[in-house]
């Protein structure tokens, strides 16, 4: 009887462990918008779990139909922040993690990152180049391809940060600022210095106006009319993140960061 009890308990522990493992494998992808097939979900989960373990940073995918109907938030980043902390996402002591969320009704995307290891890889300065690695897939409705690209991009950025050479904003692949870019302000400064110093050397110039010889008070405006012709209207999609405008970073009091817009 004692042996049977030990066996049953061992089986329960084993099942529990397997369940926990399975939960962890499946927990990286939440596809409430139904964008993926079962095999695609499985593949994305596998890739996310592998990269998450490799870098000790949780890499998450969340899709939904309409975040405004699901939540009280008007900004997708705030909703993801709430999910991240309420569900205890993140790995390691710092609970580092990166979340890419899509809300299909608004075609909103949001990248959310939290924790020191994620902060080392992503910042306000390189988030645009980070997003350029996968946003083009979403614009052509290739969601599976886009999320695969996201996970692989996360892997590259996290590896670069671990090596002490985080990828900068100016180059998706390069770690160094192109030398030519640094030369542009230098060339402008050289030009301004040259013009500024040369200008006082030439003081003999013909005058083109006679402003100094206007009789004070002699201006007599006889006719004055302002006729409205027509109105033209231009519209452009509004960026949904913070008031810092297009490409800005939204900071949260919880310590996480998010960046988003339309895809």
């Amino acid at each position: 009887m004692k042996r049977k009890l030990i066996a049953v308990l061992s089986l329960l522990v084993l099942l529990g462990c397997l369940t926990a493992f399975a939960y962890a494998e499946n927990d990286f992808v939440t596809d409430r918008a139904g964008l993926f097939t079962a095999s695609q979900t499985q593949e994305l989960n596998r890739l996310a779990a592998e990269l998450s373990r490799e870098h000790n940073v949780g890499l998450y995918i969340i899709t939904m139909q309409n975040f405004k109907q699901e939540s009280r938030y008007s900004y997708l980043g705030d909703y993801i922040d709430q999910i991240y902390h309420s569900q205890g996402l993140g790995l390691g002591s710092g609970r580092s993690g990166i979340v890419l969320a899509l809300s299909m009704a608004e075609r909103d995307y949001n990248v959310y990152w939290y924790g020191p290891d994620a902060d080392a890889a992503l910042s306000g300065g390189n988030i645009d180049s980070f997003e350029s690695g996968f946003l083009s897939y979403f614009r052509s409705n290739d969601y599976y391809g886009g999320f695969r690209a996201y996970l692989n991009t996360c892997g590259r950025y996290l590896s670069a940060a671990e090596n002490g050479t985080p990828i900068g904003n100016w180059s998706e692949e390069g770690e160094k600022l192109p030398a030519g870019l640094a030369a542009i302000p230098g060339a402008i400064a050289a030009l301004l210095a040259g013009l500024g110093l040369s200008a006082p050397m030439r003081s003999a110039k013909c005058k083109t106006d006679a402003n100094e010889y206007v009789v004070p008070g002699s201006m007599d405006l006889r006719a004055r009319s302002d006729m409205f012709l027509h109105r033209s209207v231009t519209r452009r999609p509004r960026e949904t993140q913070s008031s810092s405008g297009s490409g800005g970073v939204h900071s949260h009091s919880s310590g996480g960061h998010s960046h988003g817009g339309k895809f």
């Binding site: 870019l181 060339a187 050289a190 003999a204 006679a210 206007v214 201006m219 004055r224 109105r231 033209s232």
Partner: protein, 371 residues
């Protein structure tokens, strides 16, 4: 060639008089006497009448005493030809030396005895100046102003300052035409006003387009244009403005001690530059009444200039010239206000060094910030 020539002599000691730019009076360098312009004019009006009478008698006597020449003069020199039209010869009334001047010089000084000399005959045949602004700053101030002009210019070659010897300093009364005009400007503009507001989904920009019409007139007084082809327009424009409160009726008594040219560019020719300047200012004035718009583009302009009057004036200018590396550098100073202008040479090595330095410093700082 005309040979009428005048120099004002001190009634006390017969030394030459010159116009003192600080005192505003005619001064004698020898005995220190000073005379007002009016007193000397009155005094010399009588003297000139007597001199003309005596000159006529002398010419008759000379003609009577001419004998056949003893030397063959055909081999010496050539005929002046067409050049004779542009030069004049005079005898200095102080030392008798022959003065050769060009046809526009109305006042000069004798290179042998330094006697300030006026050649009123040069002014005859042309219009008599209506007004004059006497010199207020002297030669010493002009030299000091030139030295100050060199300061604070890091691109000025050191050798230019060190080796710089002013070749010539001339106080010149430059002929100017002063134009009065009323300018009518009738202009049409296309303008826009822009409103931007946002909805939850979009940023909406509404642009209102307008057709704006303005018509008005504006008066100009004493717009100056120099009437001497020898004076560079850029130099004469750049030393403006003159203070017209000190305009005085013209008198030859202001000329002794300075050079003076008569105009050789007609007022009709100079009027083109005055008109152009007035038109630009009138357009700017009318344009400045179009306010409250985000953009404004001129689509039509009609400018009419109504000439109201023109004066012939003599303006005081110090001309300083120097040479460096075979190139002439000319500076002009407003003889009334002391404003000095003139282009300076640029040390290309220094210019390159400054540019390279700015490039290196800013480039390095940029690299440090971004790398």
């Amino acid at each position: 060639m005309a040979n009428e020539i005048t120099n004002y002599q001190c009634p006390a000691c017969t030394g030459p008089l010159h116009f003192g730019s600080e005192s505003g009076m005619l001064e004698c360098d020898y005995c220190g006497s000073r005379f007002s312009v009016e007193d000397i004019e009155h005094m010399f009006a009588e003297k000139n009448a007597r001199a003309e009478e005596a000159g006529a008698q002398r010419e008759e006597t000379l003609q009577e005493n001419i004998r056949d020449g003893q030397w063959d003069m055909d081999a010496a020199g050539e005929e002046w030809g067409a050049d004779a039209e542009n030069i004049r010869a005079y005898n200095c009334p102080s030392c008798g030396a022959e003065l050769i001047c060009d046809s526009t010089t109305a006042a000069t000084s004798c290179p042998y005895c330094g006697n300030p000399t006026i050649i009123p005959g040069q002014l005859s045949g042309a219009k008599k100046p209506d007004v004059i602004i006497p010199f207020k700053v002297d030669k010493t101030a002009a030299v000091a102003a030139l030295k100050k002009h060199y300061k604070g210019k890091p691109l000025l070659p050191k050798a230019f300052k060190a080796e710089n010897h002013i070749q010539e300093i001339k106080g010149v009364y430059v002929p100017f035409w002063l134009y009065d005009a009323q300018v009518d400007a009738d202009m049409t503009f296309k303008t826009t006003r822009v409103h931007t507001h946002s909805t939850q989904r979009e940023v909406i920009t509404e642009t209102d387009h307008f057709l704006v019409h303005r018509a008005g007139s504006i008066d100009f007084e004493n717009v100056p244009v120099d009437g001497s082809s020898q004076m560079p327009d850029a130099h004469m424009d750049a030393i403006e403005p003159f203070d017209y409160k000190e305009l005085k009726p013209f008198s030859l008594s202001y000329l002794p001690g300075f050079l003076a040219d008569k105009y050789d560019v007609s007022q009709e020719e100079c009027a083109k530059r005055a008109n152009s300047r007035c038109a630009v200012s009138a357009e700017n004035a009318v344009r400045s009444t179009v306010i409250g718009y985000a953009s404004c583009a001129t689509v039509n302009r009609n400018v009419t200039i109504r000439a109201k009057g023109v004066k012939y004036a003599m303006m005081p200018v110090w001309m300083l010239s120097t040479q460096w590396k075979g190139k002439n550098f000319l500076f002009a100073m407003n003889g009334q206000t002391g404003k000095l202008i003139g282009d300076l040479p640029v040390d290309k090595g220094k210019l390159a060094a400054f540019c390279v330095g700015a490039f290196a410093v800013v480039g390095a700082v940029t690299a440090l910030l971004l790398l």
